[in-house]
């Protein structure tokens, strides 16, 4: 966070924060790698924004230490850390032009007028704001304001860029565009990005790693496919996307994973049987289940009845009930859904062994 032009490496050890009796963040230990794009994901009140504010220096942690490139910065005030920061709602200076907004961090650093001019115009070019230099923030669209905020936070080449739900005010198409742009800026600058969002699809699309928070605790950190396909617990599994959960009995280890009884039918899956005990939950994402006329011997499958369908354009979402009353949702090609509903509604659900995973029965 202190050397301009060089991505920072951040280490948080046992960070905690209490507001009165409310524990906003509890014993968080996390390494953020140099040049990584880390997303802090969680519902509101999960502690993700508190952690971002601690990184920025706006909030002092109650416990723990924070290191940047090996230097303890726990007590360093925000203005000396100078992490680039993009706020929810952008927080542009309303009385300054686009140019003056972007020049601000350089002026504060007492750069020469010629250098400020050069770097500001470079940055304006890079974020595509040419021709808007003299405008005030209120004369810009939401997307343009967003670009000013990004330019202002990146112009002084901070070691880390902190982003607090920057896209929450944008409409969907603009959001996608800005996400792509941010990914490009990340690659171009090579800076460490720490990004806060409550939108799981945004987190999965952008990040090199995702950290999932709930109730002030860090639950899991990993690459997007890792946390999506192998969630550490029920909360992570559910928060990252729709998921079907079926009770599983008699779970035990087998070659290459585990086996158990799902609605009186033997199924096999990946995962560690010892970690969950005899009864567990079998979790499968909707897009990993298929509809079949019947399940072959040795194939994972359960019988179910289709009860409703929702046409989604590219696919159809089918709601089913199993014989023992569990509700299951699958995402299937449109013609398969039509066939399933017409055939007396009774079908089999099948899935590959490697797509089912075990969660502890109690869940979190």
């Amino acid at each position: 966070m202190q050397q301009p032009g060089r991505a920072a490496e951040i280490k948080a050890i046992g960070i905690g924060k209490s507001f009165g009796s409310f524990r906003a963040l509890d014993n968080l230990t996390l390494d953020i790698g140099r040049g990584e794009f880390l997303t802090l994901l969680g519902p509101s009140g999960s502690g993700k924004t508190t952690f971002l504010m601690i990184l920025a220096g706006f909030v002092q942690p109650s416990d723990g230490r924070l290191f940047s490139d090996g230097v303890d910065i726990t007590e360093r005030p925000a203005e000396q850390r100078a992490a680039g920061m993009v706020f929810q709602g952008y927080a542009l200076f309303p009385h300054m032009s686009v140019e003056a907004n972007i020049a601000f961090p350089l002026k504060v650093r007492k750069k020469s007028a010629t250098e400020i001019k050069r770097r500001v115009s470079e940055m304006i070019e890079r974020v595509g704001l040419k021709g808007h230099e003299k405008k005030l923030p209120e004369q810009l669209s939401g997307g343009q304001q967003q670009r000013v905020a990004l330019a202002r936070a990146l112009v002084f080449e901070p070691g880390v860029l902190l982003l607090d739900e920057p896209f929450s005010a944008l409409d969907k198409s603009l959001r996608g565009q800005m996400q792509a742009e941010m990914k490009r800026l990340h690659q171009e600058t090579g800076t460490t990005f720490v990004f806060v969002t409550h939108d799981q699809s945004e987190a999965l699309a952008l990040s090199s790693r995702v950290a999932i928070f709930n109730h002030g605790k860090l639950l899991q950190v990993g690459a997007p496919d890792e946390v999506y396909d192998r969630p550490a617990n029920r909360f992570v599994a559910e928060f990252l996307g729709e998921i079907n959960m079926l009770p599983l009995k008699g779970v035990r280890s087998a070659d290459n994973g585990a086996t158990g009884l799902c609605e009186d039918r033997a199924v096999s899956l990946r995962g560690n049987a010892d970690a969950v005990g005899g009864n567990a939950i079998l979790a499968i994402r909707p897009e990993h289940m298929s509809i079949a006329r019947e399940a072959a011997v040795g194939e994972n499958g359960i019988a179910a009845t289709a009860i409703a369908s929702t046409y989604l354009g590219a696919a159809t979402r089918l709601d089913l009930t199993t014989r023992q009353g569990a509700k299951v949702t699958v995402s299937v090609p449109n013609e398969v859904a039509a066939a399933a509903l017409s055939k007396g509604n009774s079908v089999w659900l099948t899935w590959p062994a490697e797509k089912g995973f075990l969660l502890p029965d109690a869940g979190q």
Partner: protein, 277 residues
């Protein structure tokens, strides 16, 4: 459309009593004053001509503008400081600031003017104390001059300057200040280059209110000026009640009202009324 119309009718009805009162108690009598200014003692523009040539009237006008300008700068600066504490301080600081702002409203302008006389006069508290500790040998001329008038008026007007400032400070987005600090700006720099410019409309509104109020001050300059720093309102009083020259007094009044009206028009061009409360 009908709902909108009836809503407007309702608003008009609610305002009617006040409007009626203002018309009967101010606008109508003022028309009489305008008439005097053109008819007394003889019909014509003679009184307005006298305004342009009379040295006394001109020096009083200039003094009034000068005092109003100084009072405005000092009041707004002092009000700015106390408003920052009131709006952004800790809960305890806020209570103290609120107390300081509200208490003056409970004490009449007359009482306060005499209070300042007791403090500032030659044998007042400040002079006797300074002489007592041997800091000065002759009493300082703190009252019966412009200084005394400025002190008394500033004291009276600070609370009025607070409200427009408070309104602009309350509507300010905290994240913008955080953003400035996050970008490397010290607290001092953030205050001067972000906080103060962002409260610009409050400063303008506050300055206009204080300036306009200052122009019409009567009691405070009459008591603390001791007849030596006569301001425009006192001059009007003297022309009407002491040296019966109703025509000139009326002409000065008309000019003052027009000037204040022009200032108000300017104020509402730059500041929305709701920012003043």
């Amino acid at each position: 459309m009908r709902a909108y119309l009836s809503e407007r009718m309702g608003a008009a009805l609610l305002m009617a009593p006040l409007l009626l009162f203002l018309v009967l108690a101010y606008a109508w009598p003022f028309l009489g004053v305008v008439k005097w200014s053109f008819t007394l003692p003889t019909p014509g523009l003679g009184q307005y001509n006298a305004l342009l040539t009379d040295d006394l009237v001109q020096s009083v006008f200039i003094r009034t503008l000068r005092i109003a300008a100084i009072v405005t700068v000092v009041s707004v600066a002092a009000a700015y400081a106390i408003t920052v504490v009131w709006v952004r301080g800790t809960p305890a600081q806020r209570i103290i600031a609120e107390f300081c702002i509200l208490v003056p409203f409970w004490i009449s302008v007359l009482t306060r003017a005499f209070g300042w006389v007791a403090l500032l006069s030659n044998r007042g508290l400040i002079n006797t104390w300074l002489q007592g500790i041997g800091f000065i040998s002759e009493p300082l001329a703190l009252v019966r001059n412009e200084f005394g008038v400025i002190v008394g008026m500033t004291h009276f007007l600070i609370p009025f300057a607070v409200f427009p400032l408070a309104s602009s400070m309350r509507s300010l987005d905290d994240r913008v200040l955080l953003a400035a600090r996050g970008l490397g700006s010290s607290r001092m720099r953030t205050f001067w280059s972000v906080f103060v410019p962002m409260t610009r409309s409050g400063i303008i509104g506050s300055a206009m209110i204080v300036f306009v109020f200052s122009l019409g001050f009567f009691v405070t300059p009459a008591i603390l000026g001791g007849g030596r720093s006569v301001m425009i309102a006192e001059l009007i009083y003297l022309r009407i009640f002491q040296s019966p020259d109703w025509g000139l007094g009326a002409a000065i009044s008309v000019v003052l009202v027009l000037f204040v009206g022009a200032l108000m028009a300017l104020l509402f061009r730059y500041v929305r009324p709701k920012q003043l409360i």
